[in-house]
């Protein structure tokens, strides 16, 4: 068959793509379940850190975030009958932004505040996710604003914004 005829080219391209497609489908069927499991495990670890005694966490994001307009709250988990955990993100000083979890007990007190990922300036914006600030946040409630750190105002303002959005969702769940 003449290599330069259009039929040959079409057939060759088709065969190559078909083989590639089959291979990809096979690999996907092997790896997709493993990936899904990993993701659940990673999130679960963080949730358990906040509520160690709870064994049934439910992902209620779809219903809870129906009317959420700011887009800063990514997921809502119901921790048994104890409270709720909100996964939020925002952009602070660095363009990459940060994500964190904030949990509220049913009575409105803060049950946990953990950072999932952040790339703020070390020693300045990163203080919004470390020791002293975390301890301070743990004493607050779902009605309070997040405190500001002078020298890290941009980061803490952004955290405050995201927390406010979470608090709004929390209010609708009560």
């Amino acid at each position: 068959m003449d290599k330069n005829s259009s039929i040959y080219k079409t057939v060759l391209l088709g065969v190559v793509c078909a083989v590639a497609g089959v291979l990809l489908a096979v690999v996907n069927s092997i790896t997709a379940p493993v990936i899904a499991e990993n993701e659940i495990a990673a999130v679960k670890q963080n949730l358990i850190a906040i509520y160690p005694d709870v064994s049934d966490f439910k992902d209620i994001s779809e219903d809870a975030l129906k009317d959420e307009e700011t887009g800063l709250v990514d997921a809502v988990y119901q921790a048994g009958d104890k409270g709720y955990i909100f996964s939020c993100h925002n952009v602070g000083y660095t363009a990459d932004g940060f994500t964190f979890l904030i949990g509220y007990n049913n009575d409105g007190t803060v049950s946990g505040y953990t950072v999932l990922s952040q790339k703020e300036t070390a020693g300045k914006g990163s203080l919004a996710f470390e020791g002293d600030y975390v301890a301070e946040v743990m004493t607050l409630t779902a009605e309070d604003d997040m405190p500001l750190i002078s020298g890290a105002t941009i980061t803490t303002k952004a955290v405050g914004e995201a927390v406010k959005a979470a608090q709004a969702v929390f209010a609708t769940l009560q």
Binding site: L12, V16, C17, L23, T31
Partner: protein, 239 residues
């Protein structure tokens, strides 16, 4: 009188000069972004070796039957599928490495080294040679990644760590080389990557110049020896 032969270049020397990153300046984008730690460097390097060897082999197989005007789409399909398969495996079995390398795994598709070697070598050589070429190029790419990462990691964080990505990043060993007060933080950021790359590229360039000069000197000596031999032979004839 013995012939003056040029020095046989060792493996390491070849890896330094025939280096796609420092010699041909290919694949720099991912090099600069990834090389922040030894784990990332080794992970990325092995990924690239995997894709490079397999793509070279496959392309050397189908090149003879591929007409010229569709060879680029065909090669790209091959390379892209290989990278996607790699990405799926990494995501499933080494999730920490996957999130550390991030978008740069997908960018291996457009890493100039892969398509460059495919076009320059694999399409015109047999399987074994292509595979060997892929392996060599991949190894020297990994080698340069490790070189940059070591500098950046030591100067920027002071520790050399190696973790096992298959076991949830369990640390295999961790050595504190530089005390905490002597860290240079910008080395782990993009600034450091450009500085390190520049210095290492200059060093490689200097090394290559030195080799060239040595070769030239040997050539001159060889020519002189040959001329001398000719003169001797001519004298012998006359005598």
């Amino acid at each position: 009188m013995s012939e003056i032969k040029p020095k046989k270049r060792g493996f390491i020397s070849k890896m330094i000069t025939d280096n796609p990153v420092f010699g041909l300046y290919l694949g720099i984008c991912s090099t600069l972004a990834i090389s922040t730690s030894l784990d990332n460097a080794i992970g990325m390097g092995i990924s690239v070796i995997f894709v490079l060897v397999l793509s070279n082999v496959v392309i050397s197989l189908i090149a003879p039957i591929t007409p010229d005007d569709i060879h680029i789409p065909v090669y790209i399909v091959v390379i892209a599928s290989l990278v996607t398969i790699l990405e799926m495996f990494l995501h499933a079995f080494t999730p920490d490495l996957y999130s550390a390398l991030g978008a740069f795994i997908s960018l291996i598709v457009v890493n100039c080294i892969i398509l460059g070697r495919a076009e320059a070598y694999a399409c015109s050589h047999n399987i074994v040679d292509s595979a060997k070429d892929g392996l060599m190029m991949g190894l020297s790419y990994t080698f340069s990644l490790i070189a940059i990462s070591l500098v950046r990691q030591i100067l920027g964080t002071g520790v050399i760590t190696l973790s096992n990505p298959f076991a949830g990043n369990a640390v295999v060993f961790s050595v504190q080389v530089l005390p905490k007060t002597f860290l240079i933080p910008f080395m782990t950021a993009e600034t450091g990557s450009f500085f390190t790359f520049g210095v290492l590229a200059a060093a490689v360039s200097g090394y290559k110049n030195k080799l060239e000069e040595e070769e030239k000197a040997i050539e001159k000596a060889q020519k002189a020896a040959a001329a001398k031999a000719k003169a001797e032979a001519a004298r012998k004839e006359v005598a």
